[in-house]
């Protein structure tokens, strides 16, 4: 009884920390690339606006990174504190990418420190831009490595269990597990996607507030174009992720799609409610599930009837999957509309209602990130290491997890509020119009 309880509490605390960390981590992965692109465009076009864009984004970025480091340290330790039995196995088989991740952190942290404190220190802007490359690489690498660990949890391989002992360990087989290619690609692409839309939201917000400055139009244009590219990439990779699931974790896909009986030519079920085993009020897209799973309209999709009852994940992950996919479609749609309209010179994209739609897209992308992770993690239940170890077996036996949940919930609440307040204050005190005017004044007053 007590045993089960600590497993549940540990899940809640893990969920809490990861759901919070992932917001900052996603920003940490995607924003350096956006800064890099803006600065590069600025140098190439010799346009001060883009340089300033990079600089202003970088200022906000420092703050999110710092909170990302704090929460990342928390989850890093919590994995051992809450799941000691799992980490003992993980340490034997999948420690390599975890270890390499630390070097990625080092790399990122070092160059970020240098980049931030060397604005205008070099004569040649390009040298300064060079310093950002290790930051972007380090951040992307850390997400790649940690996602590899998560992929391993979903499709473990590279070891054998003999009388309860781990033998024949191959760290490389463990790293290159079947879940890894799609998962890594999808996580990195969605981080870029989310950051493009978050930055677009900020530009849209300024324009809704009545600023007519060309700076915001440039920012919106750049981020929406990037958003379109990554939205398309995300959908394509997401499709591959579905095919991976059909092959290696069919129970997750079946639960997500309320697909009870194995059948050919399966429909995709969108939304709806479940009445026994019968989806009601749902939108059904004929053959779409078969296409998602295997690429052919009449292929066979494994149903939940093939799995023991206690190995079927909770069925409510259906809504998480739908939320993620719907938001993905929406992001592709709105950035496509923007792209076509700006190409044809249509004016409606400058109107308030369209800006509002752009504004909500950034937060929606974050919702999709959360929904996607919850879907993957809850969809792995009851396993922590699919097929080998359940969550119950992995959890700590320590009796104080409940107190820690309260402690960390309070901490994240304060950190979350703090981030928002500080970011708002920072940009309010120094709006772009003021900063541009200051720079002009400085330049007219002769070189420093």
């Amino acid at each position: 009884m007590v045993f089960e309880d600590t497993a549940l509490l540990s899940r809640i605390l893990t969920l809490l920390t990861l759901s919070f960390h992932i917001i900052y981590a996603t920003i940490g992965v995607g924003v350096p690339l956006m800064i890099m692109i803006a600065q590069w465009v600025g140098i190439k076009k010799n346009d001060d606006h883009y340089i300033l864009m990079a600089r202003r984004w970088a200022r906000g970025f420092v703050i999110t990174v710092a909170v990302g480091v704090v929460t990342g340290t928390a989850i890093g330790l919590q994995l051992s504190l809450l799941w000691p039995n799992f980490m003992q196995v993980a340490g034997n088989v999948i420690a390599l990418p975890l270890f390499m991740e630390v070097f990625a952190f080092f790399f990122e942290a070092i160059f970020l420190g240098i980049y931030l404190y060397t604005w205008d220190r070099f004569e040649d802007q390009r040298k300064h831009l060079l310093l950002l490359i290790p930051v972007a690489l380090g951040a992307a690498a850390s997400s790649v490595f940690i996602t590899i660990v998560n992929a391993f949890m979903n499709s473990p391989q590279g070891f054998e269990v003999l009388n309860g002992e781990l033998v024949n360990v191959s760290p490389f087989l463990a790293i290159f597990n079947p879940a890894m290619p799609t998962k890594v690609a999808h996580v990195v692409a969605t981080a870029f996607l989310t950051c493009a839309f978050l930055l677009a939201s900020i530009a849209a917000l300024r324009m809704i507030r009545g600023s007519n400055h060309i700076y915001h139009k440039k920012a919106l244009h750049l981020t929406m174009k990037l958003g379109l590219v990554f939205a398309i990439a995300t959908a394509i990779i997401g499709d591959f992720s579905g095919k991976y699931l059909a092959e290696y974790q069919p129970e997750k896909l079946a639960a997500a799609e309320w697909h009870f009986e194995t059948e050919e030519g399966a429909d995709l079920v969108l939304f709806g409610v479940l009445d026994g085993e019968e989806p009601k009020y749902a939108i059904r897209i004929p053959y779409a599930l078969s296409i998602l799973a295997h690429g052919l309209p009449d292929s066979e999709v494994t149903g939940l009837n093939e799995f023991p009852k206690d190995e079927v994940p909770p069925l409510w992950i259906h809504y998480l999957f739908d939320t993620m996919v719907s938001i993905g479609m929406w992001l592709a749609f709105i950035s496509f509309v923007y792209f076509v309209a700006s190409w044809r010179g249509w004016k409606f994209i400058k109107q308030k209602w369209f800006l509002w739609l752009t504004l909500i897209s950034g937060p929606l992308a974050l919702v999709a990130i959360e929904a996607g992770w919850w879907f993957t993690e809850v969809g792995r239940q009851p396993w922590i290491l699919r097929g080998y170890m359940t969550v119950e077996e992995a959890a700590t036996t320590s009796g104080q997890v409940d107190l820690m949940i309260i402690l960390f919930a309070g901490l994240y609440f304060i950190l979350g509020i703090g981030t928002i307040v500080v970011l708002l204050r920072m940009y309010k005190r120094n709006p772009i119009e003021k900063e541009l005017a200051d720079r002009e004044a400085q330049r007219d007053g002769g070189k420093e």
Partner: protein
């Protein structure tokens, strides 16, 4: 003792833990001195130095810590079972304290400059509480505080909190943090040409030198009662501690004479390096007395080799980058003097 994979693994981890102790002490202590000078209304003599040196490097400092706890799970996976299960509460408290420090840099020095006094005090206080929260692990590793209940390890808080050994380790960690930090900041302030800050930090360095050495000796005394076996090993290494003491005397002499603060800091690193490694060596082969040794908790050979190769490759990347960082923020005269502000 031959050079086995186990020895390489533990040496790498111990080295990074040592580096963390040094860089984190500088960070923790600076926060405390800053808060103290705010408290005594000394016009934030140190604030400038903290912003110049600590803000660009605190994330790197943090990674040393991450390196240690990720690395130890990699090389010695069984530690997850023993330490992971028992340390939930102290480690969580340490995480919250780390969060206070991280958010101070984010919110107060980079961001909107929330320089509320309460925040400065919290930041300073967390610098003292952190060593107090982390160092009991060293006491726990001596054995006697973890009991096996139904095959699961449990921390005996009562035994821990009433143990003189635990408290003397905590006191040592506090004095060491303040001493290390004061010596470093004396040097840095001197480089920055800030006479007032140099004098203040020099005074602190001299004040904390005595307590640091006395508490360090106290531990050896406490170990004699608590872990006779460990004590014997320590005494066998008396000559290393003698070297460590000479280095200590050198640092104090130089600081006293106001000479060559850079060399004084290097001697201090040497002092702690010798003592830290002699201590670690005498602890050998236990990771947790008497349950875990580095041999029975070690990972499989394939993983160990992979980790060591990754470590060497990573170091090839890390060392030049660290060199660049220090050249720009520690050894660049213009920057240190605060002549130019290049923050984004």
């Amino acid at each position: 003792m031959t050079l086995t994979l186990e020895i390489i693994g533990i040496s790498v981890l111990w080295l990074f833990l040592f580096l963390y102790v040094i860089v984190a002490s500088i960070d923790f202590g600076a926060g405390f001195f800053n808060a103290y000078s705010a408290f005594t209304n000394k016009q934030h003599i140190l604030t400038n130095i903290i912003q110049r040196y600590l803000s660009p490097v605190w994330e790197v400092t943090n990674v040393f810590f991450v390196f240690f706890f990720v690395g130890i799970i990699g090389f010695f996976p069984q530690t997850a079972f023993y330490y992971g299960t028992t340390l939930l509460v102290p480690a969580s408290i340490a995480l919250v304290l780390l969060a206070i420090r991280g958010s101070y840099y984010a919110f107060a020095t980079y961001g909107a400059k929330i320089n509320h006094r309460g925040y400065i005090y919290m930041y300073g206080l967390s610098g003292l509480l952190l060593p107090a929260a982390l160092s009991p692990v060293l006491a726990i590793s001596e054995g006697g505080f973890i009991n096996m209940v139904d095959g699961n390890p449990q921390l005996d808080y009562w035994a821990l909190f009433t143990s003189p050994l635990m408290w003397s380790i905590v006191v040592l960690s506090l004095t060491a943090v303040l001493y290390i930090s004061a010596v470093f900041l004396t040097w840095y302030a001197n480089k920055a040409g800030d006479v007032k800050a140099t004098d203040l930090m020099r005074k602190y360095a001299l004040i904390w030198a005595g307590p640091a050495i006395i508490t360090a000796t106290g531990i050896i005394y406490e170990l004699r009662g608590h872990s006779p076996e460990h004590y014997e090993n320590l005494i066998g290494l008396w000559w290393v501690f003698a070297i460590s003491f000479l280095l200590f005397a050198g640092t104090v002499y130089l600081i006293w004479k106001r000479r060559n603060y850079g060399l004084a800091f290097i001697l201090l690193v040497g002092q702690f390096f010798t003592a830290f490694f002699a201590y670690g060596f005498s602890h050998f082969p236990y990771l947790l007395y008497p349950y875990l040794t580095i041999y029975d908790s070690f990972t499989n050979e394939t993983m160990a080799i992979a980790l060591i190769v990754a470590f060497i490759a990573g170091l090839g990347l890390l060392l030049p980058s660290l060199y660049l960082l220090f050249r720009l923020f520690l050894f660049d005269k213009e920057y240190v003097k605060g002549k130019s502000d290049y923050h984004a």
